[in-house]
Symmetry: C2
DNA sequence: ATGAAAGCGCTAACAA
DNA sequence: TTGTTAGCGCTTTCAT
């Protein structure tokens, strides 16, 4: 077993309380005892055991993070932002993945709660009706949603506090993207989307697509939902692409990975981007900017989303602790909507036959 | 405060020991008490507090992970592999980043040790001489290196146990990549590399480049080291590219992100890949396969690296615990070398002027 | 300025 | 099968 505060105290010839005090508020101990203790710490290679501290203090200075996957750069960047901010604020990060399985969300959170994390940052499939969030709320564990954007309509139950979230305005962002395509002269625009039941963002983005199409007086098409980046399996998609008469002049994809996969598939079909068809993505992942043509997309600031989420969460944790101490009431949560930008790129150009 | 084992015991009318027993080995408690206790647990919404358990047991079922960054897909995939395997084995993951700063490595590990993680998986700048690894060894905390590949020469000190690592054979893989370029007919091949002092892999890969060049009887060139993907800053690179007489016919890059950045820069200079110059990367990140031309690269199985690393680590942790119980000696660590494959791609083609 | 002692939630002897 | 009890490492009154 590693040296404990006790061994340090023994070696220094003081009580464990004094050692503890030195560790916490160094001002409250005399210079010479401090000196002695420091020497003992050095000599023993003592390192405070957070487990003991946490048990006693009832807080762990650790936050839990739950994201669907790390295979999508977007979430990796977000986690990166979280970690950087956490380190700055002296918090640690415990991390889990759900593989887009809603049923794994609660298990993930349960595990984190077992570790007594002080708060949780998560991206869930559907933030509207979500048992995991209800659990968190019931247990009064502060949490912040990332990417999930609470539809206002889901807050009709006014008995409930608004939930904290950090995201872009997915609907408006998608609308901007499609509007960009419209401005380029496209009239037949097809949306390709990840499964709606795995991502409420995808639904919001489809609404944005509808908004833009309607605003332009164009006929919206039903979205084609595809499994994670395997377009070859989508029969309706294949069919649509095979027939030049039905083929859209532009594709709007609910995320960049999908857009890039689509471009690959289009090439396999002998179609060229943007000459034969334009493609626009969503997310603005960095590699999109390295391609030729550059992938047109809506850029969301993923790392910043992580950063803001963490700071918001820590704010809530520390306010919560203060409130608990003061016997106060919980505080209203903030809905952060970060700005998005449209990245124009060579993959979206005017249609060849207007 | 959340309900503890004590409240459960009270409500069920049994002692806390019985509750604990039910939680740990359910067989050792009678069916009816089990029933009563389960009801109480349900009713109170009790969830065992790992902090208490860990403090008592001296182990946390948590592993620490330290990677340079999550901006590079390679590490994100690796972390993904770690998390998946950890979840399967019922371990949790605490995660940190070093931003490629060697001086942050020890701070990161210190923090993890404070949390009493049972073991650590890390990718360090230089595994050959690394104070952090020495610390881990001194503290007898099991650890596994990922991507870092221990040069055999660094193990001359036979008094020390070999360290555990999971990686591809970077040198051989780079050699294969360059050999591929040679076979295509290239004779003037330039290596572009990340900073050697931030990555011992980069050095190994340069050795691989030298091996291939020498084997082919070609004159190797000094590597051009560049800061993370900002080739525009590399004066020697700019100069070399400006002059067609000095320009290499192929570029071998120490990682895919660098290769993709290079391709973008080449386009900006008016050069076309692969017509004017071939480019080959290292890592085999998935997006490389979606580009046009497909990025030729050496594929390393990042997610599998994470998976193997975690399983190796857990093996060491549990063997270590068993050995400690039996008073045995530490076990020799394994050096896992996973297979790599060369991905041929349109970015590497025969030179136009042989 | 320092020490003594209680207790955070849990497990593991040891008793019964 | 069940209960009693000590104690993991630490913080925090309450004394001194």
């Amino acid at each position: 077993m590693r040296p404990s505060i006790k061994q340090v105290a023994n070696l220094a010839g003081v009580s464990i309380a004094t050692v503890s005090r030195l560790l916490n508020k160094p001002g409250s101990v005399s210079a010479e005892t401090a000196e002695k203790i420091h020497r003992s710490i050095e000599q023993l290679g003592f390192r405070p055991n957070f487990t003991g501290r946490n048990l006693r203090a009832g807080s762990s200075r650790t936050v839990g993070v739950v994201v669907p996957t790390l295979s999508n750069t977007v979430f990796a960047q977000c986690l990166q932002g979280i970690e950087l901010a956490a380190r700055e604020l002296d918090y640690s990060v415990m991390f889990t993945t759900t593989e887009y399985l809603p049923e794994d969300e609660s298990a993930a959170v349960e595990l984190l709660l077992g570790h007594r994390v002080d708060g949780v940052i998560l991206t869930v499939a559907d933030a509207g009706a979500n048992a995991t969030l209800d659990l968190l709320e019931r247990e009064k564990i502060p949490f912040v949603l990332t990417y999930n954007q609470l539809a206002l309509s889901s807050d009709v139950r006014t008995d409930r506090l608004p939930r904290a979230s950090v995201s872009v305005d997915n609907r408006a962002a998608a609308c901007d993207a499609v509007t960009h395509l419209v401005k380029l002269g496209h009239r037949r625009i097809q949306m390709l989307s990840g499964r709606f039941n795995a991502s409420d963002r995808a639904i919001q983005r489809y609404y944005g697509y509808l908004d833009a199409m309607q605003a332009a007086g164009l006929e919206p098409l039903p979205a084609i939902e595809v499994e994670r980046h395997t377009l070859t399996a989508a029969a309706d998609y294949q069919q649509m692409m095979a027939n030049p008469a039905h083929r859209p002049t532009a594709l709007f994809c609910s995320n960049d990975l999908l857009a890039m996969s689509a471009m690959r598939d289009l090439r396999a079909l002998g179609l060229r981007v943007p000459r034969d068809i334009s493609v626009m993505g969503f997310d603005g992942i960095p590699v999109g900017g390295l391609m030729e043509p550059v992938l047109a997309s809506v850029v969301q600031p993923s790392e910043q989303i992580g950063d803001v989420a963490l700071r918001t969460l820590v704010g809530a944790i520390e306010r919560g602790a203060a409130a608990a101490a003061a016997g106060g009431a919980p505080v209203a949560a903030a809905r952060h909507v970060l700005p998005h930008t449209v990245r124009e790129g060579g993959s979206a150009a005017p249609p060849s036959q207007p």
